[in-house]
Symmetry: C2
Subunit: 552 residues, 2 copies
């Protein structure tokens, strides 16, 4: 047996939800599992998206033998347009995932020179010292996969994102037989999805939502409008099936939903008879009880089709009395206020609205506690690393593994950047590499740092006060009164007197400065001190003070 | 019977959660029910709190005969320090509510000259043409009440915030007998709490939480730390009871929790034997299995006792392995991220953490659908106005009333500022008065308007670019290069070249201006146009551009 050690380095997804990326290194070869993005948290002001810090990979770029993508969600593929131009390794993914990657790379003009390979579950792919096999898992997007990775040291199983739905709508159930087989042969290390490790019991089957949608289509006397994630193709399939059953025609609204449906039909992931899909501009003439609309907007996104319909701002469809609107999704944490506002507006327009608080309109795509236990039980790994989750999810998932009898010292609650080394002697955390959040804001990747964000935070709270001090170059004396302009600080009409007073006080203070008055450091400090104190006294606010000195 | 009409004017709480305030006007007399505040939503940058617009009341201030407060939560009493200095009417509230109002007014130095009267359930208070009687309701704070308001036109019932808990911990259950009696005599108008109109079924009793806390105290081998809302005195009682049963001593941490517990003990709302409450600084010496801590921090507030314990920043208590931490509360919408971060940190410190996702650690204080239906069923009002909720809550509550047989035209989904007039002929919405959000930011009330908030929003996204252009007073020509300073826009080191280029481009553009160059409107427009375009091309960001012209 080999004396080499295997290195496990998570670069994203451990300690946060999103930007998933796992690095595995063995005898000079590296493979990468997933390359996802994360949407910014509330305090990341003005940031568009967040990707993992890949400086470790850049230092070892010529060791990278392959990038393996488990499924086509943004938090697993979204960093590829930033990664691939810097690390040109072949990408492996199943058919639909590959289609979604291609769309994403094209959008960001990063497709050129990229080698995209189709992975077929059950077939083995060689990547340096690794042999990698995809296996089917059930998740909220078709063609999702887990990975079986064979090394000279032993076998690694990575579940990707999964749940155990024995009656999925399309796509295959999680391949439990293959996992059981592996478990019997011996698995060294398991990575498993922790996203829903907080939830007791089992995640309900997609089938329960299908039955609910069926009942709604049967009962609704007017139009039925269903909104969901555009990648949730199985949900769209359920809507189409129910619509067909009750003689309704289906109209797709919203760009990303239209694109996804088209691709899914072409690639054979959506089964829609020609006669059932209509053009959105035909809606107007049809009787309401013959109409089903499928739209984007499940997160209350302001530019989405549903929100525009609710605001009477959509070119083809306005909400009308008699409509039944089904929000077939739960709000992603942070989106609750937008979703609630959308529901309110739909009610105001006279619709009947069925949403997550009222009805079983959605099931999520991750396994709950009993499923996670079942999986560990089948795979019987020697070592276990819970992945995909904030600390509490990883911790609870680790607790589940221990409750099944795994020794505590074989379960590793890792965080991004930590290095786990596994050899024949054992496994332990040996160090840490650079990791963290890289912010994408507009065109630029990674220039936004703590200073910029701190400034944005300060500006967002109490605004800014810009102060211009004119100084005579010869005499070194302040000329005239300071000029002050504010933005986002106070109502300038109402506080005009206060601003004038602050100018007086500032002029006085600087007059006392004597010869030093023309020194920038003196002016800078004096202006800030004087105004900060004065404004706080008057308003209890802390605007950013930005002084300028103009020499004349 | 009178020909006068009754006017119903909600000034807060209809269309949002919080800042509850209802105005009732009859024959030249006004009474006000509740005067609450709302905590700012995400887009209200830098705002401390939000209170109702009371301009209608100020126009009719000498008609106000009384302010009736249903209970002591912030969303019902928090606007009093702003209202009372402007409208000096007597305030009526039950004993504990009055105590909480007194504390609040003292904090804000608004207690002087205020007349605070104790209301006793069952006794009638005269206020102009109104006779008002408080009746007990069960809610998540003791001494909560609803109101029975008698007028020459008929009886009005206002539930306040309520649920129907037949086994409350302390305080009384909602007085259903009194309501049934009224229902038999005839009620003209019902206002009822809609906060949980989305939830099917019944809200569980406080008792279920008590049983859970009991089990935890019995099982825990180390310290038990319970955090909850400081006003949730019944929860604190449950903790004390369970602690006493298992021979543990109770220590209170956090200023607001300490203050509330002291007041509740003094006023007799908390039953704590002398021997059971300890001083926080005694904790260190005691065996862990004898300790229960009750702290603030259930919302992950950064300065709360629990968060400081989790960050090893509390003077007396650090989280240690073996601690059981119970977050006996659910996150208020918008606080989820803070709460999750706190849970993560507690886990990292080695605690066992029991929180809303994992366990039955909390029940809320509002009635669910079946309770709301039961109440309408008992009161049998002629007219119904659902109160306290966003539009969907009011809408769903109205739907419940109709499902019980109330005619649609007698149920009014009102919004803040609308005027409902009720006379012997019938009821209808007749108009609208000024209403909306008044922002409190620091010392100032109401100066923050749309412009200030829009500026803060813009600043928070992409920062600011300040540009100084020096112009020769005589020649009207631009002198030297423009000066540019940015905050929150880009990393200034990395983008130094771009900033320099933008100065060049600006200098060039202004040079071409010729004689008009010294005109402010010309400079202002040119600077903004040139830089907006240039920076957007380079960065896809939209900073605020703030030009200055200095004449020399």
């Amino acid at each position: 047996m080999t004396k080499s050690k295997l290195k496990i380095i998570p670069l994203g997804g451990l300690g946060e939800i999103g930007k998933n990326m796992m690095v595995i290194e063995f005898e000079g070869d590296i493979i990468i599992i997933d390359a996802g993005l994360m949407f910014p948290e509330e305090e990341m002001l003005g940031i568009d998206l967040v990707i993992p810090d890949i400086s470790y990979l850049l230092e070892h770029k010529n060791k990278v033998r392959g990038i393996f993508i488990t499924h086509g969600h943004e938090d697993h593929i979204g960093a590829l347009p930033y990664l691939l131009p810097q690390i040109n390794a072949p990408v492996y993914a199943t058919k639909l995932t590959q289609g979604l990657i291609r769309v994403k790379l094209k959008e960001r003009r990063a497709l050129q020179g990229v080698v995209l390979n189709t992975a077929v579950p059950g077939e083995e792919i060689s990547a340096g010292k690794f042999r990698v096999e995809f296996f089917s898992v059930c998740h909220s997007i078709p063609d999702a996969a887990g990975l079986i990775i064979r090394t000279a040291l032993g076998t690694i199983v990575h579940t990707g994102d999964f749940k155990l739905d024995y009656t999925p709508v399309n796509g295959k159930p999680t391949d439990l037989s293959r996992l059981a087989q592996l478990g019997t042969q011996g698995v060294m290390l398991l990575f498993s999805d922790s996203t829903y490790a907080e939830l007791p019991g089992y995640t309900p089957s997609e089938k329960t939502v299908g039955e609910y949608l069926d009942r709604i289509m049967a009962e609704a006397k007017g139009r039925v409008i269903v909104t969901t994630f555009s990648s949730l193709i199985s949900r769209v399939q359920q809507v189409i099936d129910a619509a067909a059953k009750y003689g309704r025609k289906v109209f797709i609204a919203g760009r990303s939903m239209t694109d996804t449906v088209r691709m899914a039909v072409e690639l054979g992931y959506l089964n829609a008879p020609d006669s059932i899909l209509g053009q959105i501009d035909e809606v107007r003439g049809m009787p309401p009880e013959k109409i089903v609309l499928v739209t984007t907007g499940s997160q209350g996104e302001p530019t989405s089709a549903l929100v525009r319909m609710a605001n009477r701002d959509h070119p083809h469809v306005h909400i009308q009395r008699g409509d039944t609107v089904v929000l077939s999704a739960t709000p992603i944490p942070g989106n609750e206020a937008l979703v609630n506002r959308t529901v309110d507006n739909l009610f105001k327009q006279g619709a009947r609205v069925l949403y997550y608080k009222l009805a079983n309109v959605h099931v999520h795509g991750h396994g709950s506690q009993e499923e996670l236990k079942l999986l560990i039980n089948l795979v019987k790994p020697k070592y276990f690393v819970p992945v995909h989750g904030e600390y509490r999810h990883l911790n609870l998932h680790a607790g589940l593994a221990q409750s099944l009898g795994m020794p505590k010292e074989n379960v590793f609650i890792m965080e991004d950047g930590q290095v786990l080394e596994i050899g024949i002697q054992g496994a332990r955390i040996t160090g840490k590499v650079g990791s963290g959040n890289v912010y994408v804001d507009g065109l630029s990747v990674g220039d936004i740092d703590g200073v910029v964000l701190r400034n944005r935070r300060m500006l967002s709270k109490d605004g800014i006060v810009v102060v211009i001090i004119t100084v005579n170059r010869q005499t070194g004396k302040v000329v005239g009164r300071p000029d002050i302009v504010t933005r986002g600080f106070v109502d300038t009409r109402e506080f005009n007197d206060m601003i004038e007073q602050s100018k007086d006080q500032l002029a006085q203070t600087l007059d006392h400065g004597g010869a030093r008055a023309a020194e920038w450091s003196f002016i800078n400090t004096k202006v800030k001190d004087t105004l900060e104190k004065f404004y706080y006294q008057q308003t209890k606010r802390h605007p950013m003070i930005l002084p300028f000195m103009v020499k004349v």
